[in-house]
């Protein structure tokens, strides 16, 4: 390990500790962040977010044009780009990717594989299941070598964010042919065998600054090597290794021992000590939200606004921020962080005030409220470093205003996720990290239709959501989002709690990548100093 | 008719081995065709080397091990075929005294519960007071202090423990007591106390004994009749005085001459029959006469091939040897190195 750090030349190995294993080397088959962290270094998208920000900027497309109705998207492609396998990047290659996705059949149509495609672009050329949404993708038309037009059936707020999404990164035409040659994934819903090409390095090829060379599942390492033919600034290190480290302490100690050069998800209490010891601990911009969920059906008293208000007033968000969250964390007052466009400055506030809370409880006829409160154990999320602790604080808050809280600890997966999703928990804590800068990615996820996690039906709210989702004009949408935020907070379906920026840590001799609120760091920026 | 009569008793223990399920691959012929009679009020002594099947025979009589074949007739009933509850009921009439007075007493039971257990099992003397009186009477009989009732076995000396063991057998007022090496584990001085006690009890209560021991002197001391066992079978049986005066079986002769006598005069002057080798395995007994492998008088014919029957040779004297008469008559001489004269001992 040490010789690597001392050698100073640029053919060095950079080892990064990731909190989980990737699932697939083909990002279009994946839905998880750990997969995307890896594939983002290998594959590139038409558009991307500006480094360190949430603004959408051109990537493989040098520029793009949106038709006023938002149905036609013209991309002017970058020239002189080649895939890792030597194939040229051009309009035909782009369309080959879109057609691959659009024409997926059989097991590929399962949400297990094409979850993000379905979310971003709807269904397929031929939907095989009733549950698959109607296709929104209409066509991809090359206009010459470097111009391409993508048409959709109707405008959706997922655009243009979809074109930045890692799941829609572009593969080389040769590799797509190779994928097609392989038998499709086998198995039933939930139990699929990933196609071989997505499990071993060699077939997949993108345009990114790194090439995939090895995935050692036993050692839980993915190895990438510098793409020396990269069109842009070449990667700062010769070799990039993502090593899975699930245990936060192990990550920290590995960094201190010099075995790794950086890791993600630094525990809040480790941030300051690491900084004090001279390590670089850049903090991302906040792009997530932790909230207290309420299910109005399992606990009818929650259907009363007074009771929900009482709970909101009872909670001391700031004490959570102070004691449990990393530097840069803030208390939230609506269902999105302030970094998202559409954030409203004028939402109704429910300040911490136990006395008001008690009164509201009385008004709601819930003085003796006794309520089940679910929380996950054995898990740490970027927006929620130690759920049991946060639960304890919330519980103490609620008990202080006379609510009896019944602990319902559960294991994160699948128990907790199942229970909260199915509406079995009257109170629960959970959160969301945004995929791209679009308010719909936050509030739309929760409030656009009836959701068993909330258990309420507010037709007006649902209709307004549908409207904003179909509005192609960006500026108009932002205003509508602000209004919606006010509307939601007026209704108060749950209590937004906090937004906390997850931190990364890097060794002293590393020039770290620009942190991204979307956790979309570009490791090509990394180099040793 | 005798009180206890054993006829052609066989106890074979299977030797098991197998791949998935155990399969019998042979037998230990622990007791292999024994017949004997014990008269009411009499004492039958059984001697023999370690492993020759004495204990097994004693246990088989009590049906503590399963009998392979043969009969054990007790007071007209065949115990060998009895099972379950009837057998359990019958047990009150035959009792056993064990070799090791410590291991045969449950260390966690006090004397009173040791003694009352049998009574309870047979529903005898239901009244608590009467039961206690009976137990105390028994204690008196074996010479234990009355205060012993509430004490535990480990608080007694070896001799006293053996007394408890005897008392346990006595409380049920049995007809027959089988004593399996009752004194082997005791010091000589205590051994004498216990032997005397057994004799006294027999005189007072009219008990019938089957006494098992490896010490010929002890057996001879208390028995009326002695059976000498060798490798699962009885090779000689005679009234005890007769046996000492005129042992007829070569094995008995050897055994007799091997018993040390605490008297230098005798020791220095007696002739010894020294046996070569050890007791063969009962799992693989020699053919013919079981003793032929070690017998100084072994003959070329019959010994190796034919198993001798126990035959009457005199007044109550039975021998299982083809050549008993010839040996007695001096027609057959032992191998020269087997007999050690008195002179060799006189070296010092």
């Amino acid at each position: 390990d040490s010789d690597r750090d001392e050698s100073g030349s640029d053919d060095q190995t950079f080892v990064f500790g990731a909190p989980g294993d990737p699932k697939s080397l083909d990002p279009s088959l994946a839905t998880d962040g750990e997969t995307f962290r890896v594939t983002r270094q290998v594959f590139e998208t038409l558009l991307e977010h500006e480094p360190g920000g949430t603004k959408i900027v051109p990537a493989l497309a040098e520029s793009y044009q949106q038709s006023p109705d938002g149905l036609k998207w013209d991309f002017k492609l970058r020239s002189g780009v080649t895939f890792h396998d030597g194939e040229a990047f051009n309009a035909a290659a782009v369309c080959k990717n879109f057609e691959r996705w659009y024409n997926w059949s059989g097991t590929y149509q399962s949400t297990n594989f094409s979850g993000y495609w379905q979310e971003l672009m709807g269904g397929f050329a031929k939907n095989e299941s009733k549950e698959t949404p109607a296709a929104n993708f209409k066509s991809c038309t090359p206009n010459g070598d470097l111009d391409v037009t993508i048409e959709v059936n109707k405008y959706s707020a997922t655009l243009p964010g979809a074109f930045t999404h890692a799941a829609m990164a572009l593969h080389s035409p040769k590799s797509i042919d190779a994928y097609a040659a392989e038998p499709p994934p086998t198995g039933q819903e939930g139990s699929f065998t990933y196609p071989q090409y997505s499990q071993t390095a060699g077939t997949v090829a993108g345009t990114g600054p790194f090439k995939l060379t090895n995935w050692d599942k036993g050692a839980q390492q993915v190895t990438l090597e510098r793409n020396d033919n990269y069109y842009g600034t070449k990667a700062g290190v010769q070799k990039l290794v993502f090593q899975t480290i699930k245990d936060a302490n192990a990550g920290r100690q590995a960094l201190e021992a010099g075995d790794i050069d950086g890791y993600d998800l630094v525990a809040p209490s480790d941030v300051k000590p690491l900084q004090d010891a001279g390590y670089q601990v850049p903090t991302r911009g906040v792009f997530n939200l932790l909230y207290l969920g309420m299910q109005q059906e399992t606990e009818p008293l929650l259907a009363k606004k007074e009771v929900r208000e009482a709970i909101a007033h009872a909670i001391d968000k700031q004490s959570i921020v102070n004691s449990k969250l990393p530097p840069g964390a803030v208390a939230a007052n609506q269902f999105m962080p302030d970094t998202v466009e559409g954030y409203s400055d004028s939402v109704p506030e429910y300040a911490y005030d136990p006395d008001v809370a008690k009164e509201k409880l009385k008004a709601g006829g819930a003085e003796n409220l006794s309520i089940d409160f679910c929380y996950p154990t054995e898990v740490s999320r970027p927006y929620m470093p130690s759920p049991p602790d946060i639960f304890e604080i919330l519980k103490a808050n609620l008990q202080a205003v006379g609510i009896t809280v019944n602990d319902k600890p559960m294991k994160w997966a699948p128990d907790y996720l199942d229970a909260t999703d199915a509406g079995k928990c009257p109170l629960y804590i959970i959160g969301w990290t945004g995929d791209y800068n679009e308010a719909f990615n936050f509030i739309g996820t929760w409030f656009s239709v009836y959701d068993s996690g909330w258990g309420f039906k507010d037709e007006k709210l649902f209709a307004d959501m549908a409207a904003v989702s179909a509005e192609p004009d960006q500026a108009k949408r932002v205003e509508m989002y602000k209004a919606l935020n006010n509307q939601i907070m007026e209704f108060l379906p749950g209590v937004p709690l906090t937004s906390s920026p997850p931190s990364m840590a890097f060794a002293k001799n590393v020039k770290p990548p620009t942190t991204s609120p979307l956790t979309q760091e570009n490791f090509a920026e990394v180099s040793f100093t | 008719m005798s009180l206890l009569s054993v006829r052609d008793l066989k106890v074979h223990f299977p030797i098991k081995r197998g791949v998935l399920f155990d399969r019998t691959i042979g037998h230990v012929y622990a007791v292999d065709g024994v017949s004997l009679d014990v008269e009411r009020g009499g004492t039958y002594g059984l001697v023999g080397e370690s492993g020759c099947g004495k204990s097994t025979l004693g246990r088989a009589v009590l049906r503590l091990v399963d009998v392979t074949s043969g009969s054990v007739e007790f007071d007209g009933k065949d115990l060998a075929t009895l099972k379950g509850e009837p057998l359990r009921k019958e047990r009150s009439r035959l009792q056993m005294v064990f070799q090791d007075p410590m291991s045969s007493l449950d260390p966690r039971q006090n004397v009173e519960s040791i003694l009352s257990e049998g009574l309870a099992a047979h529903g005898m003397i239901g009244d608590r007071k009467a039961r206690r009186a009976h137990i105390q009477q028994t204690l008196d009989a074996v010479g234990l202090p009355r205060g012993a009732l509430s004490r535990y076995p480990h608080e007694f000396s070896g001799g006293q423990r053996q007394r408890i063991g005897i008392a346990r057998a006595l409380v049920l007022k049995p007809d027959v007591i089988i004593a399996d090496e009752p004194v082997s584990a005791l010091d000589v001085s205590v051994q004498a106390q216990v032997i005397n006690l057994l004799e006294e009890l027999q005189n007072d209560l009219g008990l019938t004994y089957l006494v098992i021991a490896h010490d010929l002197a002890v057996v001879r001391h208390i028995s009326d009749t002695i059976g000498v066992m060798y490798l699962g079978g009885i090779v000689e049986e005679a009234p005890s005085d007769v046996l000492y005066v005129s042992p007829r079986h070569p094995y008995t002769k050897a055994l007799m001459s091997a018993v040390p006598v605490p008297d230098p005069e005798v020791e220095d002057s007696r002739e010894r029959v020294l046996l070569k080798g050890d007791l063969p395995s009962p799992a693989n007994p020699p053919t013919g006469c079981r003793f032929h492998t070690r017998c100084p008088w072994r003959q070329e014919t019959r010994c190796d091939t034919e198993r001798p029957e126990l035959t009457l040779v005199g007044d109550g004297h039975k021998v299982a040897c083809h050549w008993a008469a010839e040996i007695e008559a001096g027609e057959i001489q032992p191998k020269s190195d087997a007999v050690v004269g008195a002179t060799t001992a006189e070296v010092a």
């Binding site: 549950e131 499990q199 090593q243 245990d247 302490n249 192990a250 100690q253 021992a257 075995d259 | -």
Partner: protein, 334 residues
């Protein structure tokens, strides 16, 4: 001898058979059923039924079991529900790490435990003895995550003697033959790789060894104490043999007998108990995979793992018995 081995191996059959029935019934009786792991929570009942039908979960248990057994005899443990890869393949990739770790841990536990236990017995009732007994207790009591953290804090972070994670440095280019890294290095004569892998094994192995070490110390101590009181040791002394002869030939050899038995069982236990160590030391291995399988109710993986562990248990026991019969002629098998 061969007959005996065959016999013992044949005994595996009923044990495994019983175990499979038991496991099968048990796993299928858990709430949620196997399909719970495979479905999206929002799945409709229709979808659920569809999956159940597809998996054959509607059929009577006995039919399902039959199918399971049919695959089993072909050494096919099915595919993992969570990764979709054949269970055998997943194990093949991860088990070597666990085995390597276990073996080194046991070597450490044995090499440290037996001499210490022996010395403690020789100094029975003195301070050294007391310290050893108490010290071995700490080995049992300190949780592995804590011990692991401390070990790393001292030897990896502070002193920098050992690496804090992984099985091999990332920049070691080793050829993989068997997935046993140390062995691979030896086979391919890449000594550096082998040494590097060994180096990575030390700390996790020490952490994992803490419990077996403590048990071995105590067993050796008790066993030596017992043997020291045996008549044949007195005989050896009466023969005027040199002290070392008495110790080595007469005391230790006999004292090892019960220790060997427990070493076998401990090894089996470690194989399934290495989860925490593997997590703390980021060691790969079967542990974390198994933990995930458990929480996801990944039935094929669980079944496969338990069956494999059962086989290993039996094999280890056989090995123990065989080595026992080498060490102790009294139990020599025919």
């Amino acid at each position: 001898m061969l007959r005996y081995i065959v016999r013992r191996l044949l005994q595996l059959v009923p044990t495994l058979f019983g175990l499979s029935i038991l496991l099968f019934a048990w796993l299928h009786s858990l709430p949620g059923g196997p399909e719970a792991a495979m479905l999206d929570v929002r799945a409709t009942d229709a979808k659920r039924a569809e999956v159940r039908a597809a998996l054959g979960l509607d059929e009577p248990l006995i039919v399902q079991y039959g199918r399971f057994m049919k695959r089993l005899v072909r050494f096919d443990l099915g595919d993992s529900f969570t990764t979709g890869t054949p269970v055998m393949e997943e194990f093949g990739r991860r088990f070597p790490a666990t085995v390597e770790l276990t073996v080194v841990a046991m070597i450490i536990a044995i090499c440290a435990g037996i001499p210490l236990g022996y010395l403690a017995a020789r100094r029975h009732g003195r301070i050294f003895d007391g310290l050893t007994v108490t010290g071995s207790l700490l080995g049992i009591c300190i949780p592995i995550f804590f011990l692991g953290f401390i070990l790393k804090a001292i030897f990896a972070v502070k002193l920098g003697w050992f690496p804090s994670l992984g099985r091999q440095d990332v920049d070691v280019n080793a050829t993989r033959v068997t997935e046993f890294y140390v062995l691979d290095g030896i086979l391919t004569q890449e000594w550096d790789a082998s040494l590097n892998a060994l180096w990575h094994l030390i700390l996790p192995a020490i952490a994992l060894a803490s419990i077996p070490f403590a048990i071995i110390v105590r067993m050796t101590r008790a066993s030596v104490l017992e043997v020291l009181g045996e008549d044949y040791v007195r005989t050896a002394e009466a023969k005027g043999l040199r002290e070392n002869t008495v110790r080595g030939r007469h005391v230790l050899r006999n004292a090892m007998l019960p220790v060997v038995t427990s070493i076998g069982l401990l090894t089996g236990g470690l194989l399934s108990g290495a989860v925490l160590t593997e997590t703390v030391f980021v060691f790969g291995g079967i542990g974390s995979f198994l933990a995930t399988a458990i929480s996801n109710r990944d039935y094929p993986v669980l079944m496969g793992f338990i069956m494999i562990i059962a086989v290993i248990y039996v094999l280890i026991n056989l090995a123990v018995d065989l080595s026992y019969s080498v060490l102790d002629p009294r139990v020599r098998v025919r």
